[in-house]
């Protein structure tokens, strides 16, 4: 886990035993590349370059393909992410019911926009194209926990839960 911004300046060590275990979980099948990368990201919060190199090596697929897959799927992040991941749903229902206002409120509080991470690496904000809780629009998740009917005025209070 990234503790502070200085960690980003040196290359990240990725435990090769971890990569091997994840590849083994998918029986070493090259078609499981996306699944392996997702499992690895769950452990590391993001996918540093070394992670891709390790997967290419262990799964025996070309690095070009690993990079292609890692950069194509938005579930995967090739940039370091903060400790807490705030996802704002920008599906149609949420968009109509005020998601842009929630994004503005997050910007006001954290000084970052979608796709960015705070300088202290505490929070990252992302938009997601529909979380499937449309009846509670607008919806956000923080570290996988759902918050529905979020008004711009609620945002700071919700973030406070994770600021302790």
């Amino acid at each position: 886990m990234i503790e502070n911004a200085e960690d980003m300046s040196t290359s990240t060590l990725v435990d090769s035993a971890l990569v091997e275990a994840l590849v083994a979980r998918h029986r070493g099948h090259p078609a499981a590349l996306l699944a392996v990368l997702q499992d690895l990201q769950e452990e590391l919060h993001w996918l540093p370059r070394e992670a891709l190199l390790g997967v290419a090596d262990c799964l025996e697929v070309p690095l070009t393909r690993v990079y292609r897959v890692a950069s194509f799927y938005r579930a995967l992040s090739l940039e370091p992410r903060g400790e807490h991941l705030v996802r704002v749903c920008t599906g149609t229902a949420c968009h109509l019911r005020g998601a842009p206002g929630v994004i503005d409120a997050l910007q006001r509080d954290l000084s970052i926009g979608p796709g960015e991470t705070t300088g202290d690496m505490r929070f990252s904000v992302e938009t997601v194209h529909c979380l499937g809780a449309c009846a509670l629009a607008p919806v956000i998740t923080i570290d996988g926990k759902y918050f529905g009917g979020v008004k711009p005025g609620d945002v700071s209070d919700i973030l406070d839960l994770y600021r302790k």
Binding site: L52, T64, Y67, R68, S71, F72
Partner: protein, 256 residues
């Protein structure tokens, strides 16, 4: 052997041949940008759209990848609708690469002076046709170049923007690129491929000293033939005796 109607004329076709292959053989011109006869079709530029009528149903398909599986298809390669679609596609590409000479030339031939669309970066030369990726992957079998990301952010090159891994400097990518987006330069014994940032040391001909091939390519060829590098280190001109030299001693000496 099947029979189809191509622009009003009945022509023969082998089952599984593409419309493009048949048209090419029959001398019917279909414009393309992302197609190369030696590679699998990309079907991404969409310029080769043709109208196919199968019974009562008509639709637009890409000639480069549409396989002819039965007789009786009626194909039109140039309708007003298709002409309009091609023009707009060129306009879109011109907007993407406003100062690309090859595109300007094509636009000129089609009577397009300027694109009606908002231009992107003037320095952009790549239309993302994918030919470089396909030739590197399937013909040269190095596979160092790949598409990445998606949508308008899509790019082509080495992973992480690094030089394509395993690049031997063969420059096949530059050779197939339709817009001249890949530049090959040789200076100080080094061959550079831009925008890849690939740098490959050139080898000199053992006879005349000309820098004629990348060292990595020489070594790869020698390894494949199971000979010493010197055996394949004679340039084309010298092998044909251009400088009046007798190569037999050099070549024999270099044999395994």
């Amino acid at each position: 052997m099947l029979t189809i109607t191509l622009n009003g004329r009945e022509v023969p076709a082998e089952k599984g041949e593409t419309i493009f292959e048949v048209a090419h053989r029959e001398g019917v011109y279909i414009p393309t940008l992302c197609h190369h006869g030696g590679l699998e079709p990309g079907s991404v530029c969409r310029l080769c759209l043709v109208e196919v009528t199968d019974g009562r149903r008509s639709r637009l398909v890409t000639a480069c990848s549409y396989p002819i599986m039965k007789s009786g298809l009626v194909v039109q390669t140039d309708t007003e609708q298709i002409a309009r679609d091609r023009r707009v596609i060129i306009e879109l590409l011109l907007a993407r690469c406003p100062e690309n000479e090859a595109l300007r030339e094509i636009a000129g031939v089609m009577g397009i002076a300027d694109s009606r669309f908002k231009p992107g970066k003037t320095a952009e030369q790549c239309i993302l046709c994918g030919l470089c990726e396909r030739v590197c992957e399937h013909a040269v079998r190095v596979g160092g170049i790949s598409r990445s990301d998606r949508g308008v952010h899509r790019r082509i090159g080495g992973p992480f923007g690094d030089p394509p891994p395993g690049c031997t400097g063969c420059a096949a990518c530059a050779h197939v690129c339709p817009t001249g987006a890949i530049e090959v330069t040789v200076a100080d014994r080094v061959l550079k491929l831009q925008p890849w940032g690939a740098e490959v040391e050139m080898a000199a001909c053992v006879e005349c000293g000309a820098l004629f091939a990348p060292r990595a390519a020489i070594e790869a060829a020698a390894a494949k033939l199971a000979v010493r590098p010197e055996y394949v280190s004679v340039c084309y001109d010298c092998r044909r005796g251009k400088h009046g030299r007798d190569l037999s001693k050099t070549v024999r000496a270099a044999r395994p």
